[in-house]
């Protein structure tokens, strides 16, 4: 009873949120509704006993994908109202396409039949006393170990690709050079000068600078100095 109630509650919120994703005028609101929809879908997964999928949905989709969407929407400043201008004009054609698709789906459903072998092949033994996450882990790291590793290689290639296509060496960028910093000695940068009281300020010859840039500046700005 409780479960049924919970299902209807989550499902209703999910559908309402999904509708608002499409209908909201403000794109930031749309993304927030999307997050709400993800959370409710996760709850439905929990009700179905798929707790691993539920957690993945929250972590990956809410934690990463939706936040990324939010960034994109905020940074690109796309005018969604403009994108939606032709909506009414394209509505009839869209409706026709939708009706055709629905009719085709109905047709497919009416002739739906599994192959004779399918039930036998589908009958996977479910290990007793093992929860869903453990079962997934057991199968992922044994039977599907190969695919798991191969997916890792794909992600590596995606990473290499992102770096190859976007990383640029820009000239003139000031970077911290730790080796140069630690190699700097006191006598390179600091000069101690004995001053007689009351003699006033004198320009002290700048010590041999460790960096060319600084030397240039010193030459430029202190004509009295020199080396």
């Amino acid at each position: 009873m409780i479960v049924t109630l919970a299902f209807y509650a989550f499902a209703a919120v999910l559908i309402a949120a999904a509708a608002m994703v499409v209908l909201a005028r403000n794109p930031v609101h749309a993304v927030l509704y999307l997050i709400l929809a993800f959370f409710n879908a996760a709850a439905l997964f929990l009700l179905a006993g798929a707790e691993f999928l539920a957690m993945i949905l929250v972590i990956v989709y809410v934690g990463a994908v939706a936040v990324l969407f939010l960034f994109v929407v905020m940074m690109l400043d796309v005018n969604f109202a403009e994108l939606r201008e032709g909506f009414v004009r394209y509505l009839p054609i869209g409706a026709v396409v939708g009706v055709i698709l629905a009719a085709e789906l109905l047709f497919l459903a009416s002739v739906w039949s599994l192959s004779a072998e399918a039930p036998r092949l589908l009958a996977e033994p479910v290990p007793a006393g093992v929860d869903n996450t453990t079962a997934l882990g057991l199968i992922l790291y044994t039977d599907y170990f190969y695919l798991f590793q191969a997916s890792g290689v794909i992600l590596l290639v995606a990473m290499i690709g992102a770096i190859v296509l976007t990383l640029r060496d820009r000239p003139g960028v000031k970077r911290q050079d730790v080796a140069a910093q630690t190699a700097r000695r006191v006598e390179d940068t600091l000069a101690l000068v004995k001053m007689k009281p009351g003699s006033g300020m004198i320009v002290v010859p700048k010590p041999e600078a460790s960096r060319g840039e600084e030397r240039e500046r010193a030459v430029e700005h202190t004509p009295h100095g020199g080396h």
Binding site: E117, T142, A150, V157, I160, L165
Partner: protein, 478 residues
Amino acid sequence: MEGILNWHAALPELVLALAAMALLMLGVFLRRGATDIVSPLSVGTLALTAVLVLGSDRPRVAFGGLFLVDDFAVFVKTAVLGAAAFALVLSLEWNRRERIERFEYPILVLFAALGMLMMVSANDLMSLYVGLELSSLSLYVLAAVRRDDLRASEAGLKYFVLGALASAMMLYGMSLTYGFAGTTRYEGIASAIGAGPMAIGLVVGLCFVAAGLAFKVSAVPFHMWTPDVYEGAPTPVTAFFSVAPKFAAIAVLMRVLAGPFGAAVAQWTQIIVLLAIASMLVGAFAALRQVNIKRLMAYSSIGHVGYALIGLAAGGEEGLRSVLLYMTIYVVMNLGVFGCIVAMHRQGGACERIEDLAGLSETAPGLALAMAVLMFAMAGIPPLAGFFAKLWVFLAAIEAGLWPLAVVGVLASVVSAFYYLRIVKVMYFDKPVGAFEALHGGVAVVVAFSSILTAGFVLLPSPLLMAAGGAARSLLVP
């Protein structure tokens, strides 16, 4: 665990993957001058992997049935690795001249090759998809590797978007197949289809999987991306695209159609016949008006895929053998042609127009001779390898009773002879427009290797015939 995991069967793939990662680390830490070290090492890695592939025990099944090594896989893998290595050699000097010498380039070629090996060895729709995605993702990046060039970026983006669409179509087909057959394992699908009348979902699934693979081999009507990508990508990348991924994708198409969907031969033969006829005609007629030689080669490759698909439509050991022979000879010829295109470089940049070849016979007689031999072979002039490739494909079609295919094929190859021979005419009878820069050693080796093999194939065809015959047999009798 010997019987279940059996990872020794995948030793070449493991070596290739680990070597690629090690070379990546080497490149990252060396930074300056890394390309000069990583590129030759990558060529060496591909050669080492090819040796390991040739020495592998077969037939073997590994990773609980996800991975299969048989004569067919060994044949295709060796060809793919060789093609990748030669394409990499073509890129060495080019990348330096065009200022895109980045050590990631050979690494991505290695990963693309790894993906191709995995998809050729796949014995399950899931491992097929994972291998295909690995190679495709590397290829998308390679197409756009010259990122400051507008055309290259366009090529990369176009290839990525359309490739993703094709992958999605194929995944949809795979999910339908899984839904109706109850498994993604090839043997399981075969027994599900063989068990009774074919479920409608399986037919739909078959169509979608075939369409996705047809995109990858750029068969008409899924060829729209090919000319733009071939033209926009850097020439060595185009050379790589036109040989290794194409052969691997054709091999996957062969394995999927002859293996899991072997019982549905009546359904898929019509698809393949249609693809073959359309590809041959578009490849022949659309190439006539091209002025850019890379675009011309794109249409030429579409046409060649059409001829290869004739053999697949014919089916049986004879037909499958003719596809393998056709693709092997095509790969060898194409590498040489692209070697010549890479060599088309004058002061101030690369040349890509056909008229830039004018008078090549006077400025570079050796290169012109090699190009002429390859063009005659592509057109299918008798003593050269290209003629035998077409001959076997047409013979297989006639023996299978598909004579309309053979007729269209002969007519299309007559039309296509026009543009191949036009290049010979431009090289030998037009006024010279200035010499190209001196030929780089690696490029010269590839061109010489390709043209000598193409011309001398008639003298010693038996090793290739035997190997292809064994490979085709292993595909039919598991």
